[in-house]
Symmetry: C2
Subunit: 471 residues, 2 copies
Amino acid sequence: MKKSEFEYLLRNTSGNSKKDIATREDDFPQWYQDVIVAADLAENGPSKGSMIIKPYGYAIWEAIKSELDERIRAAGVPNMYFPMFIPESLLHKEANHIEGFAPEVAVVTHAGGKELEEKLIVRPTSETIIYDSFSHWIQSYRDLPLMINQWANVVRWELRPRMFLRTTEFLWQEGHTAHSTELEADTFARAMLTMYQNVAENVMAIAVTAGEKSERERFAGAAKTYTLEPMMQDGKALQFATSHNLGDTFAKAFDVNFSAEDGSTQPVWQTSWGMSTRSIGGLIMSHSDDKGLVLPPLLAPLKVVITTVGGDNAEVKTAAQKIANTIAETVLVDDRDISPGEKFFAHEKRGIPIRIEIGPRDLENNQVVMVLRDTGEKKTVVINDVAKFISPELAAMQQRLYAQSQTRLSENTVDCSSPEEAIAAIKNSKFALASFEVTAELETSLKKDHGITVRCYPFEKDAKTLLAKAY
Amino acid sequence: MKKSEFEYLLRNTSGNSKKDIATREDDFPQWYQDVIVAADLAENGPSKGSMIIKPYGYAIWEAIKSELDERIRAAGVPNMYFPMFIPESLLHKEANHIEGFAPEVAVVTHAGGKELEEKLIVRPTSETIIYDSFSHWIQSYRDLPLMINQWANVVRWELRPRMFLRTTEFLWQEGHTAHSTELEADTFARAMLTMYQNVAENVMAIAVTAGEKSERERFAGAAKTYTLEPMMQDGKALQFATSHNLGDTFAKAFDVNFSAEDGSTQPVWQTSWGMSTRSIGGLIMSHSDDKGLVLPPLLAPLKVVITTVGGDNAEVKTAAQKIANTIAETVLVDDRDISPGEKFFAHEKRGIPIRIEIGPRDLENNQVVMVLRDTGEKKTVVINDVAKFISPELAAMQQRLYAQSQTRLSENTVDCSSPEEAIAAIKNSKFALASFEVTAELETSLKKDHGITVRCYPFEKDAKTLLAKAY
């Protein structure tokens, strides 16, 4: 049994109050908010669009971060840290980039009691400040590839904020690389998308459609943007993570050149790629149900809760503690003298994968009841067998959640041969795989008239276009 | 052998160029800058006072962070995350606090293309925004103690910036707790100082004097500030970490009240405590020498480098790789065909604790030369014994560095019975332990006329005052 830092969950704090959760069918947006509040993942901060990530929500982010960080290092990319204030002149160096981000930035005009000579932009993303440094660091082909990553907070002003999905400040990692050839850069950008896909599928249990963005939806300044698009339970898409082949656009704007082996001076070819706390919104909308949060076991801060039932009984409490001691995963013992229903509700809405119930009669029979959060299935297990069942049950749950997400995506992605057919399908909560040509004009009118966007040109569906509504 | 993400160290990148290092005796401040540049830990960012933490420097911060994070969790304090923008009105709620921080803050006045109705302050520290939430979260004694920690970037405008020591933006953790009694809060603030002392001594190998700050040096708004004051190699102090007993000052300003068991409504008693990237400045000035960075092995990103000598020899390269494979710690094999001197210099200035040299003659004799970074001592070791020597050698080096720091502190802290004696001692690079009374007037004139400050009233030296110059 690992020591848990989540003992505070056993308190009835005001942030942890009983709250009804809307059903997904009745009101999906309200259900989403309710799940977050009921699980005490986050709440609104004091300034508009800001969010306080509470300990339970932050622990989920830390688990995601740890899985992603390990993969980034394994790709040979070390972490570092750049300042969050970008001098205005740097942000303006690449025309498309500033056009894309200017409406969203927060600006520091005063500091140290004085008006600043040059305004400082709170980073909305760090291409500009990082590539300014790259231009100093890169001289020769021997300096390439140059690859770095940073974990940071970024700010993008949001008009219609929603917790996790759109907050003025969010947390993310942003990777940045420079290569000597266009092909190497593109290959690396694709490799990072594959890394994100691995995290989506194997860690977050979320099935995705991988593809390339349309010109309209591309990152500001990129040559190509690659994306992962999972389907939420309401049939909408959520951009899970993106990886950009930046071409030599930023290299030219920031003079990031290298002397090649043949002695010529050439611009580098760059990539950037990021994944953020936004993905937690996708996690919630992929797996949770009308009872509250459902978590893939790999990301659950607590894997098991042991709840005593049948009143204040010292022997039962001792037995609960003894069972906890046999379990290798993080486990919480809830032996509070409150009604079992109240306890079950508290742990269900938090998405703790396995609940073990033990009462006086169970103890007499040398058994417990094991309840699985995703299916609600109950199993009677002999006390001495509990420990050995935990790990396989968690693995099976992880697999079930992924299979469910995969089925949702594949069964609800439908081929459409006309815009009308696509609009109807999307209205019916589907993803439309358009075999017709989606011209720039059609793309504009679909967005304007129906709120439908080109999600991507899927890698695996030659010459088709994925259309959907999206978060 | 663990896979190293530091293979890039083997490149001759422009950020890793050969650079002479000033001696500590000739020019200590220049030496400090040179060590940072030579080890490629950090460099100045584009806006004044900002700093780019480069991969090798960031890896040291990650190692410190990991050790600290583990201890914070073990104290039962979970991580969470608050917004970095504090509405101006919140920052102004506690009079002493705003008086202390107003001159240092950066202010966001525009965002999303508009002037903001209320200015947003980029957090210089987060008491105000966090305690605003505490006032909502805390109702009853059952909600106490409430304890949280966050890892974050903060901004304090600096007029005379220096890398790591004083940068406009820095990284830190800040812990915040609320308790039901004054005694419990004070005890917890002291416990967190002890935790920092444990990190200083056992991880960073830095001896410290622990004590309480004078009223003048106290954190803005605190009832008591506890501090750790190590001695740098030039005899100056550096505030390593602080822990504050905030009394009920913020509770009263932010209405953080609870209903006690007796039914009465009372303000909570609070603490806050932090440690930052500033500590890396202390690490450098504690251990490094005229050859460059020296790192306590526990914090060294790479523990061992194996360098081939004697030219391009395939058998030697193979042997180097074989030895690396037997070593459990992070190890880099440097088999580049450049002069041994150049390689030794590169790894010395990075502070890699153990260098193993192997050449054709060594291979013939079935041995290598092991060189210890701190002492420069060379040992001849039989190849098959290398692996088993690494761990004890690293542990011994960690211990030596701490002992050296401890000796420096104790031998150079001198009892002084008059201000004149103290001024003379400090001029002579000592810490002065004043047995005379340091009145508020004397404290002011010592600072104004001599740049000497009250570092603390040491816990272990009853009724004495520690005076020194400080970073």
